[in-house]
Symmetry: C2
């Protein structure tokens, strides 16, 4: 029992307070008192007191300053609370998505969406929709453009979202935003220090880390580089966007990915965008519906929330 902790990764779950504790901390920050926070979260005051205290023990930092007139965050507590808020927001997105995924057939709004949109954009929209029209039960089915089209035409979905160059036959649609494919590399990669923009021909000639042939991203890229000599043999072909990102960060080769997929990595500077000259790698994000049947009711509400997505 001693020689077998190969990947020593002592779980995050042991070092990070659980969601309930983080939510409680946010409530304390908002309401200025343990007791009020406890009531807001539906537990008793001693429970809140003990939970906050054990969180402080776990983190080794005093988070709230107790006084006989209430509790305020310490400086460290304010910082921790901000970080906690990010975790809770991610959990809210998870919840919104998961709830839609479970959504039974009796949902008031049935959405079919491409993977990229379902993954990166829908949870946020669903949270906004929930805020604006609480009680709208949404169900979600994710699949590629043809699956989305099939669902809509078969009456099994009320609203669809696709990305790509054209609207599937039988559907009407409206552009709700742009997705740009961007060239990314690790900050350590030489391209990150270029002063001149990359040319399309250079990009085409460089072996990249890519999603497997057949993915939407790959198709757009192939098409765009066709007139520049075509894509070089990939250095590595991987099945998931996540795997590609990880490989780009560690291996020393660049990739081309949806900007939706790398927003986080760019701001955290784990990846760097490499500007390319003379290459249009945009693709439209569209909401779609069966020709003639303009969205109404909940579908219209959701559509309203999505217009102009970057």
């Amino acid at each position: 029992m001693s020689a077998e902790d190969e990947s020593v990764a002592v779980s995050l779950a042991h070092r990070v307070p659980d969601l309930g504790a983080l939510e409680l901390l946010l409530a304390v920050a908002r309401l200025g008192s343990l007791g009020r926070a406890a009531r807001a979260r539906g537990i008793t005051q001693p429970a809140a007191s003990s939970r906050i205290r054990s969180m402080e023990r776990q983190l080794g930092v005093a988070l709230v300053e107790r006084s006989p007139r209430g509790s305020r965050l310490t400086d460290a507590g304010a910082l921790v609370t901000d970080w906690a808020r990010r975790v809770v927001e991610a959990a809210e997105a998870f919840d919104a998505g998961a709830q839609a995924l479970r959504g039974r057939r009796d949902s008031r709004l049935r959405v079919a969406a491409s993977m990229t949109i379902a993954e990166y954009l829908l949870p946020g929209w669903l949270i906004a929709l929930r805020a604006q029209r609480p009680g709208t039960a949404v169900s979600l089915l994710a699949g590629n453009s043809s699956v989305v089209a099939e669902r809509l035409l078969g009456g099994a979905a009320d609203l669809g979202f696709v990305e790509g160059l054209e609207v599937p036959a039988g559907l009407d649609g409206t552009v709700i935003g742009q997705d740009r494919l961007i060239v990314v590399a690790a900050p350590s990669h030489p391209w990150s220090r270029r002063r001149t923009e990359l040319t399309a021909a250079e990009l085409a000639a460089t072996p990249l880390i890519l999603r497997e042939r057949g993915s939407g991203t790959r198709q757009v890229l192939d098409a765009a580089l066709a007139r520049h000599g075509g894509l070089a043999e990939p250095l590595l072909e991987l099945a998931s966007t996540t795997a590609v990102k990880a490989a780009v960060v560690s291996e020393a080769a660049p990739s081309v990915l949806s900007e939706l997929a790398v927003g986080e990595e760019l701001t955290a500077r784990r990846l760097v965008e490499i500007p390319v000259r003379g290459l249009r790698l945009g693709r439209e994000l569209r909401a779609v519906w069966p020709t003639g049947q303009r969205p109404a009711g909940p579908a219209r509400d959701l559509l309203g929330l999505t217009r102009g997505t970057p």
Copy 2:
């Protein structure tokens, strides 16, 4: 016990699997088998099996497809896993930050940083540092520029980070990135539909929702608008960036915030950036150290990770 559930918010924690379960799911996705995932996370196979199963029950969705030769994610499972990854990443940032906050005096690297940088950028850098130089214990103190300067000059910190227009006296520094203040409004606000850029004078004449006077953001904004007639009386003055964001989303007034603070909201389209003509609202993000003492060792490692932050 029936009339007092005012804010009915049945905790997220009851609907979202806890971090341990999410980490386990990621391991299953990566390793392709419950047993291997269990080993990787340091638990037994039955524990993993039961945990995944209870997560499926909780979410009401089948996540993995079991077979006698291993387990693969279902389509829904892949989506859930992607959402889970976001939660886990936020938790990693939390952990990195919290660990630095606790950091004892014997840390190998003592960092002093402005609130904005500590909140939005440092956790990512610390994760990167941990990946690159595991075992570098970091301690963090957050405060405004003068606190940072004081710590550095007093020998209580090895490296500092400040945002603002100038380097505090007695310190050397290097620009590691730009922070832009941007005008944001709710998508429902008329400004979101403008076709022409806002002018500085228009902005100055409009009552905004702002941080209280004295915040760094507020100072930069005041200075920039001084030559355009000065800032109009704020509609609302709030103590935290979070409160400002919430108010902008719900109230119908715009605000001016650091782009670091609103990245999330922009991509989720809860807020919209309003372009302004003829106004430079940039401010430099700088790493700083006592004059003459160029960072070495761990401080140099961290500095290397921060260069070129957007």
